[in-house]
Symmetry: C2
Subunit: 162 residues, 2 copies
Amino acid sequence: MGVHDSVATIDHARYTADNCSIGRTLEIIGERWTILVLRESFFGVRRFDEFQRNLGIARNILAARLQTLVGAGLLERRRYQERPERFEYRLTQKGRDMYPAMIAIKAWGDKHAADPEGPSVTLMHGDHEFAPDIRCAECGEVVEARDISPIPGPGAKLKAVG
Amino acid sequence: MGVHDSVATIDHARYTADNCSIGRTLEIIGERWTILVLRESFFGVRRFDEFQRNLGIARNILAARLQTLVGAGLLERRRYQERPERFEYRLTQKGRDMYPAMIAIKAWGDKHAADPEGPSVTLMHGDHEFAPDIRCAECGEVVEARDISPIPGPGAKLKAVG
C-alpha cells in the first residue's frame, strides 16, 4: 500500500502533536453545531433569527457557537441597525478560508454518510454540479495520500523528555 | 460580497439540517484525538504502540478512538501475528477518502492556527512542497464560496411541522 511508504520520512515519536494544525482546526470546528453555523454562513445567512430558524437550534446554544466563531475570528459581529440595536454575523477572510475544508468534508459525507436517497444538499457551479478535485497547487496533479510525504515543518517541536 | 448571492437558492427554513453530510462527518472526525489517530494512519502508522507513542495519548483513550474509527469503517483491524495475537489498524478506502478533508483542514490550520515559527508538518509532493488547490472536478476552475450555489439535493428532507 503506497500510503505507507512515507512512514520513514518523519520520526513522529520525536515530535509533539500538540501544535498540529489539524488538531487545532478541529478544536474550533469539531463541534457539530459550530460547523453547521459556519455552513449557514456560507449559505449566506447573517442574522441570529435566521440561523436559529434554519438550524432549529436552542437560542443559548446558537449564541455560544456564534461566540466561538467570532472569538476564533471566523465571523465578525456587526451592528446593522441602531434602534433597536441589531447585529449580524459575517464571514471574515479567515472564515472564508475554511471553505475548501467544508466542501471536502461535505464530499466525504455525501459519499459515505448520506441517506440512501443521496445528499441533502447539492452544490451547483454555474450550470453543472460541483464536486471538488484536490490538486497540488504547484504542479496541478491530482494527489492521493500515497503521493505525499510529511516532513518536520518550521514549527516542529521536539517532545519534552519525561 | 458574492458569498451571499446564493442565499435565495435554497429555502433552508424548510429543510432539516439533521441529515447534513457535514454534520455527520464531524460526528466521526470532530473529536480531536480521533482525527489525530487518523492523521497518524495517513502517516503510515498501523500499530497500537506506535499510535500511542507518537500521540502521547492514554491507552484507554487511544483504544476508544481506534474503536470509533473501526466502527465507522475508516480503519480495519487485522491480525498480523498469532502468538501472541497482535492486531494492526489499516485505512480502508472509506478512510483514505478522508484525505482531501484532512489536507484542507491542515491547510487552514497551517495558515491560521500555526505557531509563529510555522506549521509543525510540511507535506512534500515529490521534490516540491504540497499545498492543496480545490478545483471543480467538472470544469477545472478554482472555486470559492461565491461561485457555488447550494440547492436541495436528492436526500433533502422537509422539516417536521411543529
